[in-house]
Symmetry: C2
Subunit: 288 residues, 2 copies
């Protein structure tokens, strides 16, 4: 994962724009948001899924960069005062605190565009059908039926009663859809069979929920020094989470069950999927 993180950061540094004019401010904000030493978990999923189909790493890395840009844009916008109003992200001031709200909104907007631009470029894959499908699938994952819809639900969750079904749907949209794309993109790049793509989708779905439950657990149990962000925010906001509904013990069990379920979907890949299987276990044992 460290290897992928370094490689994706290096590529992002080359792909992120700069300017000679005063508009360099928005370029700086984009760099600040994207080159901040995140875990690069989604890029890791892209690279590892693509390796199942022997996709050249240089191609997969461009998709990994696009996914990470999309993730970073969502963080910048989610942190805004009108949204989750977070001042701290990965131990540093959030984008709108470092710059200002307008610049943060624009930086997020341009990060999203850049993600699609990278996918559509000929350098990403010689087959244009693959590039168009990458764009289509990513757009679907981050739109109103996916990430953005999930964030809308999350904002409304403070004011409406949520049961486990509603939270599952929320998280499936908010974080699950982009994680699912990360895993499916390997199959798209590798022009894999539909069964293989579906297996990765199913793996990613369980993985995404396990990831979120662990996030909720860290919010309750973690400390901000380890996670690099404010903790116990959910409880203070009176927000329903997997942990508030299931309790810590059952939430932890549920995360483990989901990780095992995720791994079971990888059977058809045999030993080649070892790294993805380990990723599922990492997700539910990570401390940050």
């Amino acid at each position: 994962m460290t290897e992928t993180a370094d490689a994706v950061s290096e590529l992002l540094d080359r792909l992120l724009p700069t300017s000679e004019g005063p508009d360099v401010r928005v370029c700086d904000a984009m760099r600040y948001a994207a080159l901040n030493g995140g875990k690069r978990f989604r890029p890791f999923l892209v690279m590892t899924s693509a390796a199942l189909f022997d996709v050249p790493p240089a191609r997969a890395l461009r998709v990994a960069a696009a996914v990470e840009l999309m993730h970073c844009y969502s963080l910048v916008h989610d942190d805004l005062p009108a949204m989750d109003d977070d001042a701290l992200r990965r131990g540093l001031p959030t984008c709108h605190v470092k710059y200002d709200e307008a610049t943060a909104i624009l930086a997020g907007d341009a990060l999203q565009s850049l993600a699609f631009e990278i996918l559509a470029m000929a350098e990403t894959h010689p087959t244009s059908r693959v590039r168009a499908e990458l764009v289509r699938a990513l757009a679907q994952a981050v739109g109103a039926g996916g990430m953005v819809g999930g964030q809308m639900l999350d904002l409304l969750a403070e004011n409406i009663p949520m049961d486990i079904g509603a939270i599952t749907r929320l998280q499936r949209m908010k974080t699950g859809a982009l994680i699912a794309f990360s895993c499916e993109s390997g199959a798209i790049l590798g022009e894999a069979r539909a069964t293989e793509r579906h297996a990765l989708h199913a793996y990613a779905h369980d993985l995404g929920l396990a990831f979120q439950i662990q996030d909720d657990l860290l919010d309750v149990e973690g400390d901000s020094e380890m996670t690099g962000k404010a903790v116990q925010k959910d409880e203070q906001a009176g927000k329903a989470t997997f942990v508030s509904i299931l309790g810590v013990k059952r939430a932890r069990e549920q995360a483990k069950i989901l990780a095992d379920q995720a791994v079971a979907h990888l059977d058809l890949f045999g030993e080649k999927a070892e790294l993805l299987a380990r990723a599922a276990h990492f997700v539910v044992t990570r401390r940050h």
Copy 2:
């Protein structure tokens, strides 16, 4: 133009998402922002440019819809309190006034994703190379080097001295890039020769500046009942515009010169480009 406006609104109504869950709020806000009876000037440019190359109108209409979604997203975000802080748009409350800031930010984000999703779908063009190029070119037009960078400059313009060169660059990015894409998309869809695409780009560049000068003139001379938005905002904000630098008379002359220049670039298309030529003259005579 009315014909195009009706057709694009009808298609947008079909393409915009809806939901059975509480996240329908963001879908409603997207519809509110996109189905508000705008001029649909950019869709008109797409349709008219595509007609030069005998592109089937149903294909061009999907690109027109995507361009309009992109334009609407930019309006929603530009109107936000942290940006231009506008309460009125086309005679109606702006999106964040009608809903709230968070919903407006998310609606804009999802409108952008949807624009790319539409372009990447097989229904838009049977040749995937064309679809990928549409995505790439649009992403470039709206990113940090285009629309978003231009909005960044516009926000900074209140505080830094601007000469005519700086304003030209600002407008070329802020409004010109998307107008240029609108015109070039016809050539992309029609798989036209590079000289034809370049001619449309040059036409669009002059047209875009003429369009902006007329906007500045309307801000000074128009009334809010006709334009559907607050007027004399620029002057109140102490913002440099083409009009504040050139004066009303020279600005009006300059707009006419640019319109003539735009038309001159259409020579190689002969009589087929009649409608685009008339569009250039419409731009500098419109009252709203």
